[in-house]
Symmetry: C2
Subunit: 418 residues, 2 copies
């Protein structure tokens, strides 16, 4: 097994209500086990369209992943379409029905009659457990090809994919790889602090298209990820050349590289704080809770994070963080002085080892000639205090996210030096 | 013209580097002018795959939109694939070449030789101006069907679509609608407070598949959106039956319906607070800033939001919000009593009209028999104090988002009553 095709189902994907994030997630997961996703096809909730998409997928892949259309309502037709494609009957699975009923019992509510539909699967197929929602998945085989149908809701799909789908296809892919001639190994290096074009320029000699490994870039709100893709006859050989490239790149980029693989800045910062037994307080103005939310998104954040303030008004900056009113009057809320005073105030009040403060103009309105939209001051105080000025571009959301990430990166650099 | 098919091109979409946001954007835009996107197909940067996808698209639609693969590097093959599909020659457009050279002059850099490729278009086709990037788009006709090829970079694509594509297809769609027998009108009703299956049960008689309007559902972390799709001979007629359904649904669901179209809970809550000239403070424990971040994501939030606290430790709850230490000892941080004390403390300290407090166990660890993962208490204090207990399912992220949304919904209900 080396080729997969993805069918994502749902009118909501075609009318712009929902962005299809499942495709990117599954594409990356498949790549990590050496299976390549050759195409993705989105169709609406119609039996004929789904059957046609399944036929096309079967034409070009030996693994077919399907997401969506497993809900309890009448517009969820994936179950019926798969049954038609397989040319079998749809029948009620009593064990599955009991499991769905149990799920509702847990929530202390009666199962609506509609949900009984979710206990039906095509003859010869088997159910995949859904630990989070009520919709079970379906595993089927057809002419030697494997078909897995999962819910469309991203977190339900991910849980089911990782628990019930990935292990089986991983071992099938490993078996197939033994017989094939090419294996891919991908290393990812996550960088922060320079633009994609500047990083690409620093690595220009490695990025020729016919070179092995291949070097590619992706960007996400300031984080530039370098993908080193090595193709060789076996994994050992591929690892050797990927490692060699990683070494060269790390030497050139130095502290710009903050992590490998999927480790994010909040995860790394959390890990560094926990390992060094340090604590953190956060005082936010323009980011309005975004930085604290990214820190507390990580399990176990209470080990190092204790206090956060969102001082959205001048009054709050004065009363909660002890920022002098006179300083606000003199320099304005968006200034180096106020960022620094907010950080120092937060550190003292929370009695933590570090404090971060952010103040800026997220826009779209509120900017001026001297203080344009995108102007942000970030201050970090530990043993010393460091305050930096930035001008971020983009819309309100992008300015807020970049400010929060940049603050995390400043703290990361300090934690790595200290 | 009433059916469109979308082909999105790029290896980065299939290996999980990039989430395909173009599909949702284009789907919504097309819907707004009465054209329905019947499917979306993502393929990699390979001439054969692109040609095959174009053939499939032409099979089922009279408008074909294509994004991606127009860049200047060797892996950008859309231009060549379109030429092959049209069965013509690719030739250099001198005027286009001059425009691309001008674009580089503006940036004060010389045009790399690679970019000359972007001045080539298939014979008989015409170029679409790119005001932001260097890659021009392509407009072609094939057997009475219209084909528009645009860059993959979302903001370049959007600019080109709105400026050079939308006007033409809008007038073609309007002309076609005059002669055709069917027009679609879609109303969206956003609900919060009941599960998708319960809402579907309340509307079971409206949801038969052969009924007009059709009723469909989508769900996003507790928000259930009802889509009422009316199909009639003209827009007036379609509006009449969509309105009639909306009236029936609103009557049955009452206050479960909180908005129409794309208005989100944070937007609605912000609008209600601003209109009523009320202010809000927020005290968060398990959501760790997520609620404040969603409130401050809305432009102009400073009109009603002033103070936020993230009291992640017991100590912070005592020192910042004045929660009695004895109460924490007696009931534990995750309790009705503490949620209520946090909300009251926040309201007093911030001197706002309302305060929301959230305390809970987001997991994955930290749960017990009596206080399982997912247990969350939300308190809202205004003239009175209302505290509710919830058990949310899902992972850490899902529990946190549901808690924040549920808090917004509680505040919305109070603002609509008060």
């Amino acid at each position: 097994m080396d080729k997969a095709s993805l069918v994502t189902i749902g009118n909501e994907l075609l009318i712009g209500h929902t962005v299809n994030t499942n495709a990117a997630y599954l594409g990356e997961k498949l790549l990590s086990i050496g299976v390549s996703l050759v195409d993705e096809h989105t169709v609406g909730d119609s039996i004929d369209s789904i059957v046609q998409a399944l036929k096309l997928a079967a034409d070009q892949a030996d693994l077919i992943l399907v997401t969506g259309g497993l809900g309890p309502t009448e517009d969820d037709l994936t179950r019926q379409a798969l049954t038609k494609f397989l040319n079998v009957d749809l029948h009620l699975d009593q064990k599955l029905l009991m499991e769905i009923e149990k799920c509702f019992k847990k929530r202390s509510t009666a199962m609506p009659a509609n949900n009984k539909l979710q206990a039906h699967i095509p003859a010869g197929a088997s159910a995949l457990q859904n630990k989070i929602g009520t919709a079970p998945g379906i595993r089927a085989e057809w002419k030697g090809k494997l078909i897995f149908v999962m819910p469309g809701v991203p977190y339900e799909m991910k849980q089911m994919f990782e628990e019930s789908v990935l292990p089986e296809i991983e071992s099938a892919a490993a078996k197939a790889a033994k017989n094939s001639r090419q294996v891919k190994v991908i290393h990812k290096l996550n960088c922060f602090g320079e633009s994609e074009s500047n990083i690409a320029e620093m690595l220009a000699d490695l990025a020729q298209r016919d070179r092995n490994p291949q070097i590619n870039y992706t960007v996400n709100y300031g984080t530039v990820t370098i993908h080193i893709t090595a193709t060789e006859k076996n994994i050992q050989q591929a690892k050797i050349i990927a490692d060699a490239d990683e070494k060269i790149i790390r030497k050139r980029l130095g502290s710009l590289v903050f992590s490998t693989g999927r480790q994010t800045l909040p995860q790394l910062v959390g890990q560094l704080l926990a390992a060094q037994n340090k604590t953190l307080a956060i005082a936010e103005s323009c980011t309005g809770g975004l930085l604290a939310a990214s820190i507390t998104d990580i399990e176990g954040a209470s080990r190092y994070f204790t206090h956060g303030w969102i001082t959205y008004s001048n009054h709050a900056k004065i009363s909660e963080l002890g920022v002098p009113a006179q300083l606000l009057e003199q320099y304005g809320a968006v200034s180096e002085q106020i960022a620094s005073a907010m950080a120092k105030g937060a550190k003292i009040k929370a009695a933590t080892d570090y404090a971060i403060a952010i103040t800026g103009i997220a826009g779209p309105t509120g900017g001026s000639e001297q203080k344009p939209v995108g102007l942000v001051f970030i201050s970090i105080t530990g043993a010393d205090t460091e305050t930096k000025k930035f001008i971020f571009t983009g819309n309100r959301q992008s300015i807020r996210i970049r400010a929060a990430h940049t603050a995390l990166n400043m703290l990361r650099l300090q934690l790595q030096i200290d």
